[in-house]
């Protein structure tokens, strides 16, 4: 069975981009990808857009993106799974290539979160869980993860200091990533002294909404080798799974079952285990989410995620470096784009192009992209030859 390889990546600057429209952001990342891979538009024969449309004034984003980037008459469509849209779109592109219908597909992640007014965003944010039975009580996105955090703290003794340690690490690396929204390091005290959001979370436990775009270009094996030479990174393991959207029917409150299952599929397909992963990007929308990810992905035992960060095992030089690009926490979270951003980072790591954030000898990497309050998860395993 032929492999699918990533031949080009492009990443834009994340942040409050009131200087650009969504198609202009997409173009930044797309141009960067073409330059990165030494490609031209004519090398591409299909597109998948990753974005969460309801945050934009523009209806039906795909049309406007393809037009602005000059990609007509290529086929293009949107793939959306809340914050997991990016990886969902990459999975779609992988399937499009393996089906034989396409050979070189550009996945364009683009998202503006700041076009809406604050009240409009607040109203949308209140409708993330099950709207019929939960949102009527004013649940919020941080509120859901906060409830998971509290359960984890109750069952395993995870502490607020351990949660804050995740934010400290990610801001440390974000300061070293020119594309990140937040470029300053923080301390545990600063995190613990920040205003409350949804107990036990404070401001520094929560990622920030951001605008931003990222692009990856995938190709079937033969085209990939021709276009990418020895810089190709192979997308060899893909897992995808869901769990309930609502906490009312969630089987467990101390793990994301969607992540456990998606990881299992991806590891099996790639023929690797958690111990083989040299570098990973996980979905740290909230600090607890990274701790759950360590456990769900098998980087540590169930319940030991707090200890994992406390022992600096997820720093460079630790057992499994995680989010050394700053994660969602420091990069910001343009929700449709994030999964694509993760792939960009892992590809750079596996090529040895990550500069001062390079993980030594990284040849197998993983991205873990979650949507909503845990209901969607996509895990990808990447290999360098």
């Amino acid at each position: 069975m032929s492999r699918v390889g990533i031949v080009a990546v492009g990443h834009g600057r994340f942040g409050r981009r009131s200087d650009a429209s969504v198609q202009e952001l997409a173009c930044e990342a797309f141009r960067a990808a073409l330059q990165d891979g030494g490609l031209e538009r004519k090398d591409i024969d299909g597109t998948v857009i990753a974005a969460v449309p309801e945050y934009h004034k523009q209806r039906s984003l795909t049309g406007v993106i393809l037009e602005y980037l000059g990609l007509n008459p290529l086929a293009g469509w949107l793939t959306e799974d809340a914050c997991a849209s990016g990886s969902a779109a990459i999975r779609t592109a992988w399937m499009a290539i393996r089906s034989g219908l396409h050979q070189v597909v550009a996945v364009i992640g683009c998202q503006k979160m700041t076009e809406l007014t604050t009240p409009e965003i607040l109203a949308l944010m209140g409708r993330v869980g099950e709207v019929q039975w939960e949102s009527i009580f004013g649940t919020t996105f941080p509120g859901y993860y906060a409830m998971l955090a509290r359960r984890h703290m109750h069952e395993y003794g995870t502490t607020k200091e351990q949660l804050a340690a995740v934010a400290v690490k990610n801001h440390y690396y974000g300061a070293r990533n020119p594309h990140a929204m937040f470029r300053k390091e923080i301390t545990i005290d600063k995190a613990l002294g920040s205003p409350p959001v949804a107990s036990p979370f404070q401001v520094f436990d929560c990622c920030a909404n951001a605008d931003g775009a990222a692009v990856v270009i995938l190709a079937e094996e033969e085209r990939a080798r021709a276009l990418g030479g020895d810089r190709v990174v192979w997308l060899d393991g893909l897992g995808a799974a869901t769990t309930t959207m609502s906490l009312l029917r969630r089987p467990t409150l101390v793990s994301l079952p969607s992540a456990v299952e998606a990881a299992r599929q991806a590891y099996q397909m790639a023929g690797v285990g958690p111990g083989d992963i040299k570098v990973a990007d996980v979905h740290d929308c909230f600090t607890i989410a990274e701790i759950l990810a360590y456990e769900d992905l098998g980087f540590c035992e169930r319940g030991q995620g707090g200890r994992f960060i406390e022992e600096r095992q997820s720093y460079l030089g630790g057992k499994t470096p995680v989010n050394v690009d700053g994660g969602l926490k420091a990069k910001g979270h343009p929700i449709g784009t994030t999964g694509v951003s993760m792939t960009c980072e892992i590809v750079k790591q596996l090529r040895g192009e990550a500069g001062e954030r390079q993980v030594e000898g990284a040849d197998v990497g993983l991205s873990h992209n979650v949507g909503g309050n845990g209901q969607y998860c996509f895990v990808h395993v990447y290999k360098k030859e």
């Binding site: 009527i136 509290r150 906490l247 409150l253």
Partner: protein, 149 residues
Amino acid sequence: MFSWFGKVNFTPHTKVDEFAEHLRQGRLMGSRCTKCGQQSFPPRADCPACLHDEFEWVEWDGKGKLLTYTRIDAAPTGFQDMGPYVIGLVELEQGGRLVAWFGESIPEDKIAMDMPVQVVPRVFEEIEEIKVYYTLEQPGTSWHRAPRG
């Protein structure tokens, strides 16, 4: 009618509409599939076990256990006038779970994980529209149900 349920309601249409009327009368109601007998809370028009589409209403006694909770300081639109409020996720003894606010009988400093609670149907009294909800109270808290018939 379902639009009575909750402070801000986002579901104008549902087959389990009557839930809100039962709540107004002081009853917490779940559903039972008329084909396989599976009971559900929250009530479902479509059986989760066999997908049959007919159900009957069954009263839940509202006894439950607190699984987890959070105090919301940054509230979404429509809830900002409430000030910080605490939401609990409760596992019901009769089955199913729900999300609700804590009532006056459980102040924030008395909340404890896994504590037993009683879910009590409530009516928003001081607004003009009919709006219903439920709160989490100490076990043994009593309330009135409207006379039947």
